[in-house]
Amino acid sequence: MKRRDYLKNMGLSSLGLAVFNPDEKAIENLESAKVPVKRPNGRTQEEAEMEARLQAEVFLNKHELDTITILSDIIIPADGKSGSASQSGVTAFIEFIVKDKPEFKTPMRGGLRWLDSESNKRFGKKFIEITAAQRINIVDDIAYPGTAPKHLSQGVSFFTLMRNLTATGFFSSKMGIADLEYKGNTPNQWNGVPDDVLKQYGLSYDA
């Protein structure tokens, strides 16, 4: 295949889900009785069916998702370089991933309930109803595993899970990848480490 042909071919499909044609004939269902699920590009028929099931499932409720939005923005706020976790779509990512990885379901639901319970103890209201300063009062006690009060250890575990899911969701989003300045995922010619970088590290290709 000529280079320009595969680049052309790739250009079309590298748009990924964006080129999914809703009118495209779904691939033949192996069992005719099954309700057809359209197969998007890059997915097998089995995957398309599994993802349709997961997307139809409702697990986290509105209050839980609102709390996740607030917490995720405390963990990754907007700054001069990029937006916040929720602006990058972290809430929707967490909504999906706890269904996809069911081992997160109870730690997430229970952790959110733990947070509301702690908030109630301290301020008589749920976490989303207290002030920004009051939220930080709680977060400061559960955000540092090495120094957190022992009796809040379950809160620390929950916050660690939230930090990990938030970071993974943010930095795998379009916004987060731009923030990290990842330059790849595009056809190119690798010619080695740039000269200024070699110089910075005192390395060379001749050694």
Binding site: Y6, G16, I27, M50, P77, A143, N164, S172, G184, W190
Partner: protein
């Protein structure tokens, strides 16, 4: 609906050759035999796959095009974009283990099999790898040597394409190499550290086309995503590089969704007459007839098929008068460690995707006479500014509280939140390196797979039961790997991640099967009482039955198996052509 006419029609024909499996071995056999003019039918249990077809293609997709941001799922165990349909557990296709032993079995259900996602590390076995018993008294020698296989390695290099360098190393032989990609930054740092430690480092040897070799396949464009399958066919997978041109000859009948049940034999002559299979979609049963049958279903599936092909003439399974089928199963040893390199914090950003995988590697370099274990391992290196996806930033609370890991060199409390945390992720990006050892175990008769007497899969085919244990040899080898990794990490000024794996975890030695290099279940040999196949991979008991995957391997080598599977399959295919011409088959 599935077009079933091809399945019905193929029952009417008597093929010259029926091949079970379309991976490295089956693909090479199909390619060689169809080019020679033979009418060939290939049975593949999985579905069609073409990485250039937008329906199948995942190359150059972004993590946010995946609902799970590239995480693995039960249907793709190596991540949401990885080109391996199937995995460690396939619904309705169980396998079992005996007496609490461990073995994990990775299966890809697709045309091209496991070559679609493999690491493309393409290493020849060397002269010593065929003659280990003569060297250390353990295991067995192969009935053939490097000189018997060398011409076929040479042909495979030229036909498929592999980059690397000729270094004149005795047991890591030279080949016909395309230019290797230059090392990345962390690879130059590893090379420098290794030089100080006396550990050799060479350009890796992998099957990506850094230069075009024909008009059918493109050139590598350095996206680093070979495991997703290449839309330019610039890396080796059996589906793109062997099956596709085999189909173009017009001599190939490719039957996907065809799960082989048994090899059929003539009760009078004892010769193979074809293969029965079930269509995995319609559950219809079919048979396909052939003058010659080649099994290339993977070491595990080939043994399963032989053992399940029982008849009054072959009560212990086909080609198993020796009782050796399923025995001498062995997988590479594997252990790994990762580290963070503080001098790489806040590094300058540029595209260093490169080829999919490492640009440098370390072949085995030590003398076992001075060590407390036999056999060696090679080291694979990872790292760099890869595409962030699911898992990025996970566990930062174990990192950002360390001494000198902050921007101003001060210590801060681990974990945290907010602007300074966000800054930590940026600082650490691209400063990880990883080390993986892949070594040779000592083959044992009592590591085996057999038919589980009680369990069948959803097609009613009896399943494999594994029995596998590592010995002290492999555990000591893993210990040595861990010590080497730490030496390199410290020489780089790095900090190892996590606790050093100790005796309680066999020094991080991966469970059997996890390295996905299983070989040896129908080994070749000159003695028909202690081997299944002769030195041409022809069954001692059934002269028109051949094996063309890793089942014939007598031992593993501290190399990856694929290049040797390809060379042996080519050699066996040429033997078949020769014997047909002479009228012996």
């Amino acid at each position: 609906m599935i077009n079933s006419s091809i399945y019905i029609q193929s029952q009417q024909e008597v093929f010259d050759v029926v091949i079970v499996g379309s991976g490295a071995g089956g693909g090479m056999a199909a390619h060689t035999l169809t080019k020679a003019g033979a009418k060939v039918c290939v049975l593949e249990a999985g579905q069609p796959f073409d990485p250039a077809d937008p329906k199948d293609m995942t190359q150059l997709k972004w993590p946010y095009e995946s609902l799970r941001r590239g995480a693995s799922s039960s249907l793709r165990n190596f991540g949401d974009f990885d080109a391996a349909y199937g995995g460690w557990d396939i619904e309705g296709e169980p396998y079992t283990r005996k007496d609490g032993t461990k073995f994990d079995w990775f299966r890809s259900r697709m045309v091209g099999g496991r070559t679609n996602h493999w690491g493309r590390i393409s290493l020849r076995f060397g002269p010593d790898d065929f003659k280990r018993k003569s060297i250390d008294g353990l295991g067995d020698d192969w009935p053939i040597g490097y000189d018997d296989v060398k011409p076929y390695y040479d042909k495979v290099d030229k036909m498929i394409g592999v980059f690397g360098t000729n270094e004149g190393l005795r047991n890591n032989p030279d080949g016909f190499f395309l230019p290797p990609p230059k090392p990345r930054l962390h690879e130059l740092m590893i090379k420098k550290a290794n030089k100080a430690l006396g550990i050799p480092t060479y350009p890796s040897r992998m099957s990506m086309l850094t230069k075009p070799i024909n008009n059918e396949r493109g050139q590598c464009f350095y996206c680093g995503q070979c495991n997703r399958g290449c839309s330019a066919y610039a890396d080796f997978s059996s589906s793109s590089v062997l099956i596709k041109p085999a189909a173009a000859t017009g001599n190939l009948t490719m039957l996907p969704f065809a799960m082989a049940r048994e090899v059929l034999t003539d009760p009078a002559t004892g010769l193979a007459t074809g293969v029965s299979y079930v269509h995995t979609g319609t559950m219809q049963e079919y048979t396909v007839k052939g003058k010659i049958v080649v099994l290339a279903a993977s070491a595990g599936e080939t043994a399963r098929l032989l053992l399940n092909s029982k008849s009054s003439r072959f009560p212990n399974g086909l080609a198993n008068s020796s009782g050796v089928v399923g025995k001498y199963l062995n997988d590479s040893t594997g252990a790994s460690r990762s580290a963070i390199i503080p001098s790489l914090f806040n590094r300058k950003r540029y595209n260093e995707d490169g080829v999919g995988g490492m640009h440098i590697y370390t072949p085995w370099w030590l003398d076992n006479a001075k060590l407390d274990f036999p056999r060696g391992y090679h080291i694979e290196y990872g790292g760099g500014m890869g595409m962030p996806n699911y898992g990025f930033g996970w566990g930062i609370e174990g990192l950002n509280g360390r001494e000198n890991f902050t921007r101003d060199g001060l210590k801060k409390a681990a974990g945290g939140y907010g602007a300074t945390l966000k800054e930590d992720y940026r600082r650490f990006y691209g400063s990880y390196v990883s080390f993986a050892g892949r070594g040779e175990p000592v083959v044992r008769e009592d590591n085996y797979c057999e038919i589980d007497p009680n369990v069948v899969d959803k097609y009613g085919i009896p399943v494999l039961r594994f029995n596998y244990k590592w010995s002290d040899y492999e555990v000591k080898q893993a210990k040595h790997m861990q010590e080497t990794f730490e030496e390199i990490i410290h020489a780089m000024g790095g900090e190892p991640m996590g606790k050093k794996p100790g005796a309680d975890s066999n020094y991080g030695l991966a469970d059997p099967g996890r390295i996905i290099h299983e070989v040896g279940t129908a080994r070749m040999g000159d003695n028909k009482n202690t081997s299944v196949l002769n030195s041409n991979c022809q069954a001692h008991d059934v002269k028109n039955l051949f094996v063309a995957d890793a089942a014939p391997f007598v031992s593993q080598g501290d190399k990856n198996a694929t290049w040797t599977i390809l060379a042996l399959s080519l050699r066996t295919s040429e033997y078949i052509i020769d014997q047909r011409k002479k009228g012996n088959l």
